[in-house]
């Protein structure tokens, strides 16, 4: 009895204090009423949602369907897993996968670490120098990769290129950077490493600003030097940013395309073939739509695996 009474009174109090109950949509008619009441919200969403459905959702589903089909203008037909089998049996795809993986495995860690180092060097500077260096490092990021690839191709030129000239200063013989399969992929990797990772630098700078100063002050009192503070305070506290940047640049790196088509076309001997360039060639040079769709679904699955792993690490951390 006592308990019941207490319960009843809490219920009464809750009724008084709580904001009006969230509408529950058990009843079909009440859902309908809610929808009618909020018709303006749907109108606000309508244009974007229409475009989204037409040009993103529908093509994504269609890509999945196509990957199980033999495409023909007058009626495609299902061929089961044949496209996927063909993808994994083709040497070109395996080579492209290997090249893309190597490209990612070298450039992502290098870019992340270098952007962390650069951001750490910029951070303690005054406002003016901070702005200056931030612009200097972000400027190549706003420039189209088409332009960057064109000039790097020129700098890698065997006869007149800047790099062979600089190598000459040190008495090293000229290298045919992009023209031979042993160096072409590495030339692209070096290029990617030397283009500053502007997004990383800016994100790190923003996150460093959010770290409380008291931590560093306490560490100073404890007698920690700058390097020690960097390793034991800065790096651990930047971990969420680092994970986000690794995710971002891994995804971007798996989609590397512009450099390839502008600088090597995948050659020589498929040495610089990458996944997206292969998809482009399969789809729009050979017009093997089903095969290209299967390749792109595989690319998506690879990226998905990476994203899931990294999201889990991120969540585990918090």
């Amino acid at each position: 009895m006592e308990g019941n009474k207490a319960l009843a009174s809490t219920a009464a109090r809750d009724r008084d204090l709580k904001p009006p109950k969230k509408p529950s949509y058990n009843h079909k008619r009440s859902v309908w009423r809610e929808m009618k009441k909020n018709y303006a919200s749907y109108l606000f969403l309508l244009p974007k949602l229409t475009l989204f459905t037409l040009f993103i959702a529908f093509p994504v589903v269609w890509a999945l369907v196509l990957s199980f089909q033999q495409y023909q203008v007058n009626g495609s037909f299902f061929i089961g897993l044949d496209n996927y089998i063909a993808v994994f049996q083709s040497d070109a795809f395996m080579e492209a996968l290997e090249n893309t993986a190597l490209f990612t495995a070298v450039t992502v860690p290098f870019n992340i670490i270098s952007s962390l180092v650069v951001a750490s060097l910029i951070f303690p500077l005054g406002k003016l120098s901070q702005n200056f260096f931030r612009s200097a490092f972000y400027l190549p990021t706003v420039t189209s990769m088409v332009i960057i690839a064109m000039v790097w191709r020129w700098m890698y030129n065997y006869d007149f290129g800047l790099f062979n000239h600089i190598l000459g200063w040190f008495g090293i013989e000229a290298v045919n950077w992009l023209g031979q399969s042993s160096t072409a992929l590495w030339a692209l990797i070096i290029m990617q490493c030397l283009i500053p990772f502007g997004v990383g630098i800016i994100m790190y700078l923003a996150s460093m600003g959010a770290i409380s100063n008291t931590l560093y002050e306490a560490a100073t009192i404890d007698g920690a030097g700058a390097i020690k503070k960097w390793f034991y305070i800065t790096i651990p506290l930047l971990k969420p940013t680092t994970l986000y940047l690794v995710l971002l640049s891994t995804i971007g790196s798996f989609q590397v395309f512009t450099q390839i088509i502008m600088m090597t076309g995948g050659g020589p001997d498929n040495a610089t073939e990458t996944l997206v360039h292969l998809i482009y060639k399969t789809g729009f040079r050979d017009f093997e739509f089903g095969l290209a769709a299967a390749q792109s679904v595989v690319l998506f699955l690879i990226i998905l695996v990476f994203s899931v792993i990294q999201f889990r690490m991120l969540r585990h951390d918090e």
Binding site: V31, L51, I56, F58, R134, S144, V146, G283, A292, L304
Partner: protein, 324 residues
């Protein structure tokens, strides 16, 4: 104490030296674009048998030779004039004119012989149309997703967001077939419509709209304003910084977009700048000076936009990236 101070100064100098070195590495390619674009490609000096080109000279010239030679001839012309040798002064003045013409010759050629003016205009108007379209559509969607409660809101949001994980290449083939069947292949609609569908902005605007206080929206409602009027006169002005960040990123992405345009554009009149640059490079007729001039023309607008709106770049990156 004294010693420590000196050490800090040394440290600071070291940091500056390192950062300057890194920024040279960072900016060298862009410098090389501009330097090559203005390099002398044909010059016949006083004691030369035939014209030389400094564009593909070995070793490469580190800066546009025209700048140096112009002043040399200028000095020579003045001296010759002082000495009363008018014929020689005339020669030097002609050389100066030639140097100026040649330094900028490839920019002139790009506009006269190639269609770069058209490509520039195409890139520009497409980027502007898409940017303003995205700003309107995404702020409308982001606003109701952040501030309104209605059946299906969460499902819609999660469906939209989950497609952000799907790389754009997945939709290339179906989109190609669709665009072809719609009969808009090789038109600018084939670029504008898919670009307007990008969803990143919905996510970004929704994040931003959360910061708008509910009280203001209610006050506007009590004043009897319609939903649209509230959105237009209350919400949009408050969302300006977010809109600026989204606008700049959209402009940059569209201006630089490459993979899709090279698939759907065939007519040279409709090319955007990146596509035009690629065909220029593929044609193999073009000298590196001409290519670099084209690259310079394509790079300049983004550099200007970046320098003016720098703080919005920072804002956009941190707004879109930091998950709360």
């Amino acid at each position: 104490m004294y010693k420590k101070d000196r050490f800090d100064k040394l440290n600071k100098a070291l940091i500056y030296v390192m950062l300057f070195f890194f920024s040279i590495v960072s900016l060298l390619p862009l410098y090389w674009v501009f330097s090559t674009s203005m390099q002398l490609s044909s010059y016949e000096g006083p004691e030369m048998e035939r014209p030389v080109s400094y564009v593909d000279s070995n070793p490469p010239k580190m800066y546009p030779m025209g700048f140096e030679l112009y002043f040399e001839h200028w000095g020579d012309a003045r001296e010759a004039k002082k000495a009363g040798n008018l014929e020689e002064a005339q020669y030097h003045r002609e050389q100066m004119d030639h140097i100026v013409d040649n330094t900028f010759s490839s920019f002139v050629a790009l506009f006269q012989k190639h269609d770069i003016g058209k490509w520039f205009f195409n890139s520009f108007y497409i980027a502007v149309v898409v940017t303003f379209g995205i700003l309107l559509l995404d702020s409308m969607a982001g606003y109701v997703l952040a501030k309104k409660r209605f059946p299906g809101r969460n499902i819609i949001f999660w469906v939209i967001i989950s497609t952000m994980m799907i790389p754009g290449q997945v939709t290339l083939v179906p989109m190609f077939i669709m665009i072809r069947d719609l009969g808009i292949m090789d038109t600018h609609w084939a670029l504008i419509l898919p670009d307007l569908s990008m969803v990143f902005g919905v996510f970004l605007m929704r994040q931003y709209m959360y910061s708008i206080p509910d009280e203001l929206l209610e006050a506007s409602k009590i004043d009897g304003a319609s939903e649209w009027k509230t959105f237009w006169t209350v919400v949009l002005p408050l969302a300006k910084p977010g809109l600026a960040a989204l606008g700049i990123f959209t402009f940059m992405n569209v201006w630089n977009s490459f993979l899709w345009p090279i698939i759907v554009l065939n007519n040279a009149d409709l090319y955007t700048l990146p596509v035009g640059l690629k065909t220029l490079q593929d044609a193999n007729l073009a000298s590196f000076k001409l290519l670099m001039s084209g690259a310079a023309i394509a790079a300049i607008p983004m550099i200007i936009v970046f320098l003016i709106f720098q703080r919005y770049f920072v804002k956009g990156l941190t707004l879109g990236g930091v998950k709360e």
